[in-house]
């Protein structure tokens, strides 16, 4: 990814303004998807059902990614997200069974927090290598959850040593008038309008309050981390803890808080899997979503917007390929058009080499789309991974992690 800075400041400003306005990008994106939907005649691309499934598939990854964001912004690499998530699934099951779904979510957060505490004690207080501790937490999380399930769940109604089914889900919201109206419009399959209507329908029909909560947490995290002095201090611990300490910031405290919140968020992600994405706990149900969240966060450039884009892309493409393998073929056209549009932007910025490279890639995908009728099944599973990588690699070309991320900090080392 070469980026040359030959453009004059004035032109750059225009492009920056354009590319920064998410509204435009969103609208162009929806227009593009709508166009592809009509050309390829795959209504599933923007069907309300697909979007609903995409939201559900996104949330656990998003929660884990947010967890990663909090920890890494404070300079602690948390690859224990997966383990904390697994603990969260168990916590959600246990507390929901006894006290209902909302206490269950709190329980999921609590169990995740315990995982976070372990990680914080190991990495912050004792200076254990972050990766070593993270791997240990993944093993501990999986082992503990399996052990606790075997020890406790068999006696419960709907339970067994490996699962606890029939958990009560958090409230679902439907806005009657809007939902029906949107449904009517969506069914007309008009260009653009029906796609927007599908979105509205998915957002107003049986949407889980927990989904809304997870999306709200992205905004809350962004505000707290970037708009408060608390957030500034926390991030300073991830950029330059020595400097932070000389300014009187209690580095250990902030790192602890960040890692605890990180674990709790991952736990909530696990709780979502057990309560909303399915109706019960089963061992191994996280299936690596913690790692995917971590990857979404990294490719999202350690920014809330970026990780949201990553999680959404992954969730959308994953549910798309699950629902309809044929639609993956239509996705090729979408990727091709996206690449060509991006190449045009590159050309506008006079980044010739980049523009040529992306154009060639775009044309190659377009040729693939035109010359085939379907994507081989073996490839469809990779769709979410490849697409997410594509989108985020193009979106953020220069990744910059917090400067002191993953480094062990000892109190007083500022000298």
């Amino acid at each position: 990814m070469s980026t040359t800075t030959t453009t004059t400041p004035r032109k750059r400003g225009v492009v920056e303004r354009l590319s920064k306005s998410w509204l435009y990008i969103g609208l162009i994106g929806i227009g593009l998807v709508s166009f592809v939907r009509i050309v390829t005649d795959t209504d599933d691309l923007t069907a309300a059902g697909t979007i609903r499934a995409a939201i559900i598939a996104t949330c656990p990854i998003l929660a884990a990614a947010l967890g990663g964001l909090w920890a890494e912004r404070a300079g602690v690499v948390n690859i224990g997200l997966e383990g904390q998530m697994i603990l969260g699934t168990w916590g959600a099951a246990f507390f929901t069974y006894h006290y209902g779904p909302w206490v269950g979510i709190a329980g999921a957060a609590l169990l995740g927090l315990v995982g976070g505490l372990l990680h914080a004690v190991a990495t912050v207080t004792f200076g254990v290598d972050h990766i070593v501790s993270g791997v240990a937490i993944n093993l501990i999380g999986a082992g503990t959850a399996t052990y606790l399930a075997e020890a406790i769940f068999p006696e419960y109604e709907g339970g067994g040593p490996r699962q606890l089914n029939g958990l009560e889900a958090p409230t679902q919201i439907t806005i009657p008038g809007v939902s029906d109206l949107a449904n009517t419009i969506a069914d007309k399959h008009w260009f653009f309008v029906s796609d927007i209507a599908s979105f509205i329908q998915a957002l107003t029909t049986n949407i889980s309050t927990l989904s809304l909560l997870v999306f709200a947490l992205v905004v809350v995290s962004a505000v707290v981390l970037w708009r408060t002095s608390f957030g500034l201090r926390l991030r300073s611990c991830g950029e330059n803890p020595q400097a932070a300490e000389t300014l009187g910031v209690n580095v250990y405290f902030y790192k602890y808080v960040a890692v605890l919140i990180s674990g709790a968020l991952a736990g909530i992600g696990g709780g979502f899997l057990a309560l909303v994405a399915s109706s019960g706990f089963s061992t191994g149900q996280t299936g690596g979503r913690g790692y995917i969240g971590l990857a979404a966060m990294i490719f999202g450039n350690w920014r809330p917007g970026g990780l949201l884009a990553g999680a959404l892309t992954f969730g959308y493409t994953d549910s798309l390929r699950l629902r309809d393998t044929q639609s993956v073929h239509s996705l090729l056209l979408l990727v091709a058009l996206g690449l060509l549009a991006f190449a045009a932007l590159r050309a506008y910025r006079r980044q010739v080499r980049g523009a040529v490279a992306v154009t060639i890639a775009g044309l190659a995908v377009l040729a693939w789309f035109l010359s085939t009728d379907s994507v081989p099944r073996e490839f469809t599973v990779m769709t979410p991974y490849v697409t997410t990588l594509f989108v985020l690699a193009l979106g953020a070309q220069r990744l910059r992690m917090p400067a002191a991320d993953g480094e062990t900090y000892r109190k007083g080392s500022a000298g």
């Binding site: 004792f126 240990a136 006696e155 040593p161 490996r162 399915s278 109706s279 019960g280 191994g284 073996e378």
Partner: protein, 359 residues
């Protein structure tokens, strides 16, 4: 630095211990767990054959495949005064771990060892020649090389025949003319389910449409992903299917959830064991039937052959005729269809209908 090393060592040891408690061989640790207390292998002390049962991922308590094998074992212990040892695979373990588990059992004097699940095929093939006096069996297994092992039995099932019957049920029950299938992993074994199901549906209603989805193409985690199962099944219900059959192991509970959300008039079909019996109260009315795969029969049969001194070897297929597969009638909704289904069943047994094994 020294403290760091010590701590990571402690963390690693703690991790291993806990991971050990969670899964793997039940011979070590965790004996006071309530689940383990009703484990027949803990109390059996007869002088019959010693049977080793190596579970697949999921292990005892999966309310499906592995539990069915355990049921067969329990019966064998009961009838032949057998004793037993158990072991369980963990997700993503190395091939050598499976071999070690089998070797461990053989060295602990097991005379009959059953690997539950096709994933044991390779490891049994590697271990069996070293223990010529021990008899092995692999449920759903196959011989991976040319050389035949004379102490290994491959116990297969005619899943396509059982799937054919539930396909008939699905097509007959369907009002919309569209039915669905959700497979856990797109491999040859699960394709047998799909092929039989589609053939049965077409036999009952030639113009039926069958939507097919697989959660994973090759990654075995597709059998333990309820969220993925729910998304795949919801997609099929959205496309107009009103009966969805799953062959997705633990992901199946997500398929049942999807049927519940699709509402009245929609159904799901279970697999391997009678899933109506283990489903939650909310799911029960939506479970039309289950394709039964009698792993318990096969396990018991193998133990019996050992007890009689005429151990099973080579391939054996448990089909409709041998009562190795079938369908459940636990939900009364199925009653109006049983005459139809049993008609097809007789035709399959008599050979009049030949069920395909590939879609």
């Amino acid at each position: 630095m020294r403290r760091l090393t010590k701590l990571s060592a402690v963390a690693a040891v703690a991790a291993l211990t806990l991971a050990g408690c969670g899964g793997s061989d039940s011979e070590g640790g965790g004996g006071d767990k309530p689940a383990a207390s009703d484990d027949v292998c803990k109390t059996a002390d007869g002088d019959g054959p010693k049977i080793g049962l190596a579970y697949d991922v999921g292990g005892r308590g999966d309310q499906s495949f592995n539990d069915s094998a355990y049921a067969g074992l329990e019966k064998a212990v009961d009838e032949f005064d057998a004793t037993c040892i158990e072991g369980e695979a963990t997700d993503g373990e190395a091939e050598s771990a499976r071999e070690d588990r089998l070797r461990n059992m053989a060295e602990n004097d097991a005379t009959a060892i059953v690997g539950v699940g096709f994933a044991y095929s390779e490891s049994v093939n590697a271990v069996a020649p070293d223990f010529p006096e021990v008899n092995f069996a692999v449920i759903d297994g196959f011989d991976p090389d040319e050389e035949a092992n004379d102490n290994v039995a491959y116990l297969g099932f005619a899943e396509e025949q059982g799937s054919f019957l539930v396909g008939v049920a699905a097509a007959t029950k369907s009002q919309t003319g569209t039915i669905g299938f959700v497979g856990g992993v797109n491999n040859e074994l699960i394709q047998k389910f799909e092929a039989g199901y589609a053939a049965g549906a077409k036999a009952a209603k030639p113009d039926i449409k069958v939507e097919v989805a697989y959660i994973q193409e090759s990654d075995l985690k597709g059998f333990g992903d309820p969220a993925g199962g729910k998304a795949a099944a919801a997609g099929e219900f959205d496309k107009g299917a009103d009966v969805v059959y799953h062959a997705a192991g633990g992901s199946g509970s997500g398929v049942f959830d999807a049927a519940v959300e699709a509402g009245e008039g929609n159904f799901a079909i279970g697999v391997d064991s009678d899933q109506y019996l283990t489903a939650t109260a909310a799911q029960k009315p939506f479970i039309l039937t289950s394709m039964l795969k009698r792993v318990d029969t096969a396990t018991f049969d193998f133990a019996k052959s050992i007890d009689e001194g005429k151990p099973l070897v080579s391939y054996k297929v448990y089909d409709l005729k041998a009562d190795g597969v079938g369908y459940s009638t636990a939900n009364s909704v199925i009653e109006e269809l049983t005459a139809d289904i049993d008609g097809y069943k007789d035709k399959i047994i008599s050979g009049e209908i030949e069920v395909p094994t590939k879609p």
